[in-house]
């Protein structure tokens, strides 16, 4: 497959761009932030996302979605990145939709996918339990009961947690852990090459927001995008709350991997959008700002840094598209490409926003200018679902060292 967007994908990119510049420019994020908006996102905008079909980009047509692929999801995410749009797109349209499409039972899919596509429901995904993303460090436990499950544990850094109608929670099934002997002394997690191959006992559970024992705390984040913590204390769930029903461990693991990778690649696309917009604004500034009797863009030092950054962004763009296409081709084998993309996107975005602030000089440090908002979102998106270090390490492990 050629490493370029198809004509349809380019048309989608153009319409996303046009739509978001009009419907949700960066000022919209400012407004949500400054008003301390309780939802943290615009319901009206989310409805319009549904009308455009974006909410259902990864939802199969049978369930009311567009039934498109990860490249299309990435196109939307890049547009979101460019305008710093705060919406439940990553949470619901990517994470929720993918988890349900991959691991949901027929009943779960029928109950949730159409409502995700129509923006009637938001479903998010809860995995992190520590400050650094580590899918192997899961202590949230699900114990079997006579009529279902009991969930105990804490989750953090959950996108759109406080506005979600349900959270898909990653937990270890109790009993399986002891059988598989996966716990090392002191709860240390496996760190070697074999890490990925450690016995898998993780499963996905659909927890409705009103489940007794479940509490959500909204966390105001650096980037003014929604995130939250979950406290699950003896949360009672019916048997069919486990994604996939009775649950085939291997299938559950595969679904977890694909869901995470889909979101990581989507984030890489968003980071590319954040970086590209920050860069474009910086080049514009180099062509406007005068000091010492000339445009600052005439100074070779800045020209070289800008040219270097442009090169890095082009290389990241190729890697991101490769990852998205890999997911569309065979999601079960896309992990290495996804790690390349996320690692690159984190680094490129970090460079882009830092150069952006620096080259804008003093005004780059003001809240009045949008550039700082790009830096903030880049940092949060980089940390989500594995930063550059996490993915570099995962890539190395995938290549045997």
């Amino acid at each position: 497959m050629a490493l370029i967007l198809t004509r349809e994908q380019r048309m989608l990119a153009d319409s996303v761009r046009e739509f978001l510049v009009e419907a949700s420019p960066v000022s919209a994020l400012r407004a949500l932030r400054d008003a301390r908006d309780p939802d943290g996102y615009s319901r009206g905008l989310w409805q319009r996302f549904a009308e455009m079909g974006y909410t259902g980009v990864l939802v199969p047509e049978a369930h009311g979605g567009l039934g498109l692929g990860h490249v299309e999801a990435g196109v939307v995410m890049e547009g979101i990145g460019r305008q710093l749009v705060a919406t439940p797109f990553l949470a619901s349209a990517v994470l929720g939709a993918t988890a349900l499409a991959r691991a949901g039972s027929a009943a779960q899919q029928a109950a949730w996918l159409p409502r995700i596509a129509s923006a009637q429901a938001i479903v998010t995904f809860a995995i992190d339990e520590r400050p650094k993303h580590d899918p192997d460090a899961i202590e949230t436990t699900a114990r079997r009961t006579a009529d279902g499950w009991r969930l105990d544990g804490e989750k953090r850094f959950v996108p759109d947690a406080h506005v979600a109608d349900a959270w898909i929670v990653v937990a270890r099934v109790a009993g399986d852990a002891e059988r598989a002997g996966v716990r090392a002394a002191g709860g240390a997690r496996p760190s070697g090459l074999a890490r990925d191959a450690a016995p898998r006992t993780r499963a996905l559970f659909l927890v409705p927001r009103d489940a007794p024992g479940a509490r959500v705390e909204r966390t105001t984040m650096v980037d003014a995008h929604n995130a939250g913590r979950l406290a699950l204390a003896d949360v009672s769930l019916p048997a069919d709350a486990r994604l996939g029903g009775a649950g085939d461990d291997a299938a559950g693991e595969a679904a977890l991997q694909v869901t995470l990778d889909a979101a990581r690649a989507a984030l890489a696309a968003e980071l590319l959008g954040v970086a590209s917009e920050a860069f474009d604004r910086t080049v514009r500034y180099l062509n406007e700002r005068r000091q010492f009797g000339k445009l600052i863009g005439e100074f070779q030092a800045l020209q070289h840094r800008a040219a270097h950054l442009h090169t890095e962004l082009e290389i990241t763009r190729a890697a991101v598209l490769r990852a998205l296409q890999s997911l569309d081709e065979d999601a079960s084998r896309a992990s290495p490409a996804v790690s390349v993309a996320k690692a690159r996107a984190c680094d490129s975005a970090s460079l882009a926003v830092q150069e952006a602030v620096q080259m804008h000089g003093g005004i780059g440090m003001t809240d009045a200018l949008d550039i700082g908002l790009y830096m903030k979102r880049a940092r949060v998106a980089a940390e989500l679902l594995g930063d550059a270090g996490f993915h570099a390490d995962r890539y190395a492990r995938s290549r045997g060292y």
Binding site: L3, N287, K294, Q303, H304, A307, V340, A343, Y401
Partner: protein, 396 residues
């Protein structure tokens, strides 16, 4: 080309290659010494090497897409692609490496007179004449247009005086294509001409350049009242800079392939083999492991970028400075690769002589790689090009 004709063509090619490519020529080139450069004084490594060059040369398949009238194969791009594929399938190595093929040929095809094409292209195709490139001078490197080697017209001949440097294989080449100054009164770009002459002409001498990595093919070349027939001027008098630019872009694309080593050993595997793994099965040096992981990620992304650039070109969305971006990044990537190779090799890689280190092969390649960001347009020049042609930055 229809499917049936292309299948027929492929079949024909395959049969011919089977019958005419000596078995020894179906093994990849493993060292510089294996390369066939041709030329009057070339000492073939083996009869097989000579035969392979000769047979492909006679057929014009050393230059498949050049017109038959000039010694080429007269193949269409699709046919040339089929030829490449069949050669790859059989493992046939290139029959002839040549600056005449890569650089002068394209320039003559575009700017040369009919007489010049007929005189010079067929010997290039047959590997009979070996060419070198006279561009850089001690005082004209990045600022090539400031070159000072003079060519003064005296009747029917130019008289050339001056000096070139970084002339690859000048001491082994038969002819030189050379940038000379034919007018010093106007701007530096407007007084340059493109001249061809025989390296055995009286007044031409060469001196090899030793690099920090050891022996190199580079030479200094001196011209002391060298007389060159006027008919060896390519293109217009004082119009040589345009030809030079055309070739420089070409050269850049060649070198930009450096960073993309489809066949290079994965660095992580090299490290494991040389350093070993810890109890957890992972490379025993964690800091090095992190650097290698970052490198391999960038390498994978760079490969994707090369692919994407080709795909964009095919789709008609050529980036004006793509070659510069690729050359810039590819060169820096290759330097990183060899820094890591040295790190993996530890003190073993520091032995400069002896069989154990193959006379310091890794160290020499590490040192040689430092030139990648200098030759073919420095990284700084490439960044200037990107700043000017893509970003449109002012006064660039």
């Amino acid at each position: 080309m229809t499917t049936t004709t292309s299948t027929d063509f492929a079949t024909g090619v395959r049969a011919w290659l089977q019958a005419n490519c000596p078995p020894e020529m179906r093994r990849p080139v493993t060292s510089e010494d294996d390369v066939c450069w041709g030329g009057r004084r070339f000492r073939f490594q083996s009869e097989a090497q000579r035969l392979w060059m000769q047979r492909m040369g006679e057929r014009g398949w050393t230059v498949p897409t050049w017109p038959k009238a000039y010694g080429g194969g007269g193949l269409s791009p699709e046919e040339a692609k089929i030829l490449r594929r069949e050669m790859a399938a059989l493992g046939c190595r290139s029959p002839l490496d040549s600056f005449g093929i890569w650089m002068l040929g394209p320039a003559l095809l575009k700017y040369g007179s009919e007489a010049q094409k007929l005189e010079h292209l067929p010997p290039i195709a047959r590997g009979e004449i070996r060419w070198c490139q006279g561009y850089s001078e001690p005082n004209a490197g990045s600022d090539l247009a400031s070159l000072a080697t003079r060519a003064e017209l005296d009747g029917d001949e130019f008289v050339v005086n001056g000096q070139k440097t970084w002339t690859s294989y000048a001491d082994q080449a038969d002819w030189i294509f050379c940038l000379v100054r034919t007018d010093s009164t106007r701007g530096k770009h407007t007084g340059i001409s493109f001249l061809l002459f025989d390296m055995t002409s009286p007044g031409v001498s060469t001196r090899p350049i030793t690099l920090i990595s050891g022996k190199s093919p580079f030479c200094e070349t001196f011209f002391d009242d060298v007389r060159v027939p006027r008919r060896n001027l390519v293109g217009e008098l004082d119009g040589g800079w345009e030809i030079a630019k055309y070739l420089l872009a070409h050269e850049r694309e060649m070198i930009s392939g450096i960073g993309d080593r489809g066949r290079a050993k994965p660095l992580g595997q090299v490290a494991l083999a040389q350093i070993g793994a810890g109890a957890d099965g992972r490379l025993a040096e964690p800091m090095l492991r992190a650097q290698i992981a970052r490198f391999e990620i960038d390498e994978a992304a760079f490969r994707a970028t090369i692919e994407r650039t080709t795909d964009l070109l095919r789709a008609g969305e050529a980036n004006p400075a793509a070659a510069s971006m690729l050359k810039y990044y590819g060169a820096e990537l290759n330097k990183r690769r060899w820094e890591l190779m040295m790190a993996c090799g530890g003190s073993d890689a520091l032995e400069w002589e002896g069989e154990r280190s193959r006379d310091g092969a890794i160290a020499r390649t590490w040192l040689r790689s430092k030139a990648n960001s200098i030759e073919g347009g420095t990284s700084e020049v490439q960044l200037n090009v990107v700043a000017k042609r893509i970003l449109g930055l002012p006064g660039a």
